[in-house]
Amino acid sequence: MITNLGIGENTEWKCFSCDALLKLDKVRIDYMNGSFTVELPCCPECGMALVPEEIALGKMLEVEKLLEDK
């Protein structure tokens, strides 16, 4: 179970339709037979989550590879 992707608060991006700043929130991420709860920056209004590039190409990729070899 990873719960910490090492993401800090995000100050660059705003939700366009809700015009709201993103806040860290718990979301579930799934791949193959793995399921984890992690914290990602999300829109507090509509819930849209942001996966920053360094997470997608770093930690997430690592976990994807691990799950694929299970």
Binding site: T11, E12, W13, K14, C15, F16, S17, L22, K26, V27, R28, I29, D30, Y31, M32, L40, C42, C46, G47, M48, A49, L50, V51, E53, A56, L57, M60, L61, V63, E64, K65, L66, E68, D69, K70
Partner: protein, 767 residues
């Protein structure tokens, strides 16, 4: 793959076979390791290595008649490694403490007759197996003729000390003169009997009878014998010892009532199967001891030991960066792959290894025993796919690309304009169409004008990606689509531009008559302006044969003749024709493991300073992508004004461009050849800087992915906006992958700043 297939396959890799020295040694001393340790001056380790296989190392180390030396691969390169002298030097060093593991006692008792070397070894071996052993000697002291050796050869105190172990292990000694009449009572009292023919007592009891090979049985009633002289009547200490040891093993088997002969083929001296390449080994004379008889000094011994070649095979690793990367050799890999398939729970650690092989087949050409890593890996991939254990990311992109080629935007099967039938059909394949669609158009009209007017055209994928990925279902599906279209065209002869396509047709659709485009062109008059505007053609080029052309010498010859006709001087690479190397794309290597594909390319591109000439579009793109100026043969046959003087400098075609080229090729062909102006939807423009495009290609993100993602963001309003620069960030998950695109609006489309993707899916539990 089952155990049996694994064993069958494994056998073809002989890297683990004993080197010549060890297999020539009757006792199979690990000479290679010993010599390595001596070379490093690690005397304690060297001692321990001897102790593992030599009975009484202090004795044998001094008197062994070293038959290994004659078999040593150094023999013809300065003389065999002087193992006899090295052993002597070693056992003259202080003996390290070596832990003896206590052995559980067995109830049976064994009789050993004689006090000479063979009897002593037999007794020692039996004691070490846990038997109760009684030795019958007519003399006062164990050792027999060993006591007669001069002190310089074998000091008396050493001999005495070495024999202590027999008493420590509980040997019982009876002093008794033995004769033939006493054999029956011995057999009565003991489970098995050993007669040392190198001792007077033993020889008398054997009554001239000779023991059998391998088992050293005298008959079939539990009497064994060893210590025979060679054909010149000489006793060899190492053979005496070997026979005592082999007989002891037979005595144990006899007592346990199991086969005496089974599995003993490799006991004793035998020729080795190990291959060692000594072509590049320089001769180096042996080291002579300065003090003559006294033997080597420590430094002399080390210098002599360093002459050892450390014999091993690893021929395949020398030519394949992939095999080299995993730091083993195919026999070991075969076992890892076998174990990988057997895993039910836990990590399949060999998946990446299985998926990285380019299936190029070079190892099989190089290996003295024709081991085929490609067969092994393809098998393992099929197995992974079948059991639904294939990592999705390994080949997904390639399979989707194949699906694209086999769908409406590319798929085409037409007779020549105004023709109802086709004698031949030109099949350019996906890669050439993606890399250079103009060449496809030019080649097609060339074929109609110079080969056969009724040459049709088929645009489709040959299913190589599915085959390479081990997906048999998808391969079959694509193959039957191919067969269906071929039948619709009237079962014509197929002219193939790509050697991978050729390979696929021959493998899966052998009833289709295929010929390579190059063999066709070789028989045609080439266009008049071929190669003319190209200055580069005056310089020699290094010809790169694609790995799928490995077993097609006629095709390779045709290409060389065409190059000669064009006036391109060809320089052969060291690895060409049947020994050619992969460009890193074969077997979907580049998909599964880009880093190793890069290594493969680095090796290939470093083989010549000349520009390369390729005749497979994929090879051309891969080599060029690795920074090697590389031209395609068609660049010289149909010089293109747009390319400029040097076709080897044309930039690599990216993934998006390859797809768009294929779609455009179909539209252009319909328009130019069949006069059907296709409807073209207006697509929004994507403005992408080259460095961003390079990143997109590396991440395998296509323009179509980007368009879909932006459309999704714009339609739903689900997008983020940067507070820094106002860029938008949208995401979209059409299937298995979530794409993110950073963009802004432009006048006629979008500016693309970045894009990335991941496979994990975000699920909001309580949005």
């Amino acid at each position: 793959m089952d155990q049996k297939t694994l064993r069958q396959m494994e056998k073809h890799c002989i890297q683990e076979e004993a080197p010549a020295c060890r297999s020539a040694c009757p006792l199979h001393v690990d000479v290679r390791t010993f010599v390595l340790q001596v070379g490093k001056g690690k005397w304690n380790d060297a001692w321990k290595t001897l102790n593992k296989t030599l009975p009484f190392p202090g004795i044998l180390g001094r008197i062994c008649d070293h038959p290994c030396e004659d078999s040593c691969l150094r023999s013809t390169l300065g003389g065999g490694i002087r193992m006899g002298e090295l052993e002597k030097t070693c056992v003259n060093q202080p003996k390290p403490r070596i832990r003896v593991i206590p052995i559980p006692k067995k109830s049976e008792s064994m009789a050993v007759v004689g006090e000479s070397l063979s009897s002593l070894v037999a007794a020692l071996e039996l004691l070490r197996k846990g038997y109760d052993v009684t030795l019958f000697s007519s003399l006062d002291k164990l050792g027999g003729s060993l006591w007669a050796l001069p002190d310089e050869t074998l000091p008396k105190d050493v001999l005495e000390k070495e024999l202590v172990i027999l008493h420590t292990l509980g040997l019982k000694v009876e002093k008794k003169k033995m004769g033939k009449g006493l054999l029956a009572p011995l057999q009565e009292a003991f489970s098995a009997v050993y007669l040392g023919l190198d001792s007077p007592n033993g020889a008398r009891m054997a009554q001239e009878k000779k023991p059998l090979d391998k088992t050293f049985a005298l008959g079939n009633d539990g009497v064994f014998a060893g210590g025979t002289c060679d054909e010149h009547g000489h006793l060899s200490p190492v053979h005496q010892s070997f026979q005592g040891r082999a007989a002891a093993l037979s005595m144990e088997r006899f007592t346990q009532k199991v086969s005496l002969v089974e599995g003993r083929r490799d006991e004793g001296p035998h020729p080795t199967r190990l291959f060692t390449n000594i072509e590049e080994i320089e001769p180096l004379p042996g080291v002579l001891p300065v003090h003559g008889e006294k033997g080597y000094t420590i430094d002399e011994a080390r210098a002599e030991a360093k002459r050892c070649i450390q014999c091993q095979c690893l021929e395949c690793l020398k030519v394949c960066p992939y095999l080299d990367y995993y730091k083993g050799y195919p026999k070991r890999y075969a076992r890892e792959i076998y174990n990988n398939a057997a895993i039910v729970m836990g990590n399949h650690t060999a998946n990446l290894m299985v998926n990285t092989c380019s299936l190029c087949g070079l190892c099989r050409e190089i290996c003295p025993e024709n081991f085929s890593m490609a067969d092994l890996c393809l098998d393992a991939r099929r197995d992974l796919v079948q059991r639904d254990k294939m990592p999705p990311s390994a080949h997904e992109f390639a399979l989707q690309d194949m699906a694209f080629s086999n769908s409406e935007p590319f798929l085409l099967a037409r007779h020549a304009p105004n023709r109802e039938t086709s004698r031949c059909v030109f099949f350019p394949g996906c890669q050439l169409s993606g890399s250079n669609p103009e060449h496809v158009i030019q080649t097609y009209s060339f074929l109609r004008n110079n080969w056969a007017e009724d040459t049709g055209l088929m645009l489709q994928c040959c299913a190589a990606p599915a085959h390479w990925s081990g997906n048999e279902a998808k391969t079959k599906e694509a193959m039957s689509l191919l067969e269906k279209n071929w039948q619709k065209m009237g079962e014509p002869r197929m002219i193939l531009a790509c050697s991978s396509c050729l390979d696929m047709f021959r493998r899966y659709l052998p009833r289709i008559d295929v010929i390579s485009l190059w063999q066709v062109m070789d028989r045609c008059e080439l266009p008049v302006d071929a190669a003319k505007p190209v200055d580069a053609a005056k310089n020699p080029m290094a010809l790169h044969d694609p790995c799928t052309s490995r077993h097609d010498p006629q095709l390779q010859e045709a290409v060389r003749r065409i190059a000669a006709t064009l006036g391109i001087p060809i320089q052969e690479l060291e690895f060409s024709r049947e020994k050619t190397e992969c460009c890193g794309f074969g077997g979907l290597m580049e998909n599964a493991n880009p880093a190793l594909a890069q290594k493969q390319l680095e090796r290939r591109t470093a083989e010549s300073d000349l520009d390369y000439l390729a005749y497979c579009a994929m090879c051309r793109e891969s080599l060029k992508g690795a920074g090697k100026p590389t031209a395609h043969l068609l660049d010289f046959i149909f010089p293109q004004a747009t390319v400029g003087a040097d076709p080897a400098a044309r930039v690599k075609t990216g993934l998006s461009d390859s797809r768009e080229n294929r779609a455009r090729l179909k539209r252009d062909l319909l328009d130019q050849v069949w006069n059907e102006t296709p409807e073209t939807g207006t697509e929004s423009m994507l403005h992408i800087l080259p460095e961003v495009q390079a990143t997109l290609d590396q991440r395998r993100i296509l323009h179509s992915d980007i368009r879909e993602t932006i459309a999704h963001g714009e339609e739903t309003g689900h997008k983020m906006q940067s507070q820094v620069n106002g860029h938008f960030l949208a995401s979209h998950r059409p299937l298995m992958v979530t794409f993110w695109v950073e963009y802004s609006l432009a006048e006629n489309g979008y500016h693309i700043y970045n894009s990335y993707c991941h496979r994990m899916q975000i699920i909001r539990e309580n949005p």
